[in-house]
Amino acid sequence: MCIGFEGVARLIKFLHKYGAPKRFYATSGRFLPWFAAITVILFVSGLYLGLYWAPPDYQQGDAYRIMFVHVPNAWMSMMAYVALAAFAAAGYIWNIRLADMLAKATAPLGASFTLCALVTGSLWGKPMWGTWWVWDARLTSELVLFFLYVGYMALQASIEDPRRAAHASAIIAIVGVINVPIIHYSVYWWHTLHQPASITLTKQPTIYLTMLIPLIVMSFAFMFFYLTMLLVRVRNEILVREKDAEWVRNLVEKDA
């Protein structure tokens, strides 16, 4: 038990040291071009594989190709919410300002993924169901997730004091992440009750390797896109929050 506590204490010390905004700003600046390059390469190859290399589906023709954007977005929307809650919790419990900033920077990205998943889902729905919107379990739970993101950002934006904003939105993020699985399964259950045997977006009993490969590449592309954008956003946030610090002033003067 003592070792456990000591380990945690050491981890927190480490986080405080490397999580100092100034240090993080310098380190992340070195990583950023690499992340951006990897993102571009993955997107180009993923899109090539998805749009040209993969054969058309025997039922849906070319319409299924929107999956290569829809599915990674849906995955990222949920992953980003878990990341958001994890960052927020770390910031709230251990008082790490960098974690607060990471959470704040994640929210709009996650909301965008959710929105993209909703829009592409609805676009995909048109050829499949003949209508833009169906209360499909996946889409519905994605919609509720979008509301959770909107609430988080609204709360964050309406509190002026950055520390209180971070802590208050951390609590709502933690409450949200506990609720996400409950909401998810409730919606699934509700859906099966009302629309038995309807077609869902995932009704692909076996997915061919030729489709799986582009899907995986695109998923990594979106993941690196998230990491790149997260770094860009958090670096901006650091500059805004530390605008009175000397190193930021030196940086701005050097650039000017």
Partner: protein, 214 residues
Amino acid sequence: MPEAMFSVRALSCARGDRVLFGGVSFELHAGEALHIRGPNGHGKTTLLRALCGLGRPLRGDIRWRGERVRDLGDEFYAVLAYLGHLNGLRDELTAAENVWTYARIHGGADCDGKTVRAALARVGLAAAAGRPARHMSQGQKRRLALACLLVVDRPLWLLDEPFTALDVASVGALVSLIEEHLHGGGVALIVSHQAFDLPGIRAFDLEHFVRVKR
């Protein structure tokens, strides 16, 4: 030199990302009081809220009888009484009901009608026990908030502008209540921009610790 009852070392507080003051240190022994002075906006209220645990200080060490108050947790609340710049009363409740609920919530389980009436009498509100707080003047409400402090026996008093809205006679009465509290071995921290006459009180000017560049 006996151990200090209440000691603060190198305390700094922030509002948002802006550091208000830093390096605040002092010690209070039984029977001592501190008058915290300073112009508006220097964080007097922030300091008091940090001391009683409502606010989170940036850095620093606050100890009660040698123990960190953060380690004491809720136990620390059992030794302090805080009078905020808000009275903490509800207009819909009568004077006696306000005092009674305060006592119960703060651990005065043995508080009965007699204790409540005695406390009200000491702040000169004996006749107003059944009157709703909404029908009271600002000064009377302030005295009612003070009566709440009297029903729970707490060694540490943290008072934020206690003299606001009080007339000359009431100021005198309050000063003698504080004196009585100090004689009983208690300590008190008083934030006030107003001068008052309490023998032996030390002044503490927050101005010297302000970190904000203006």
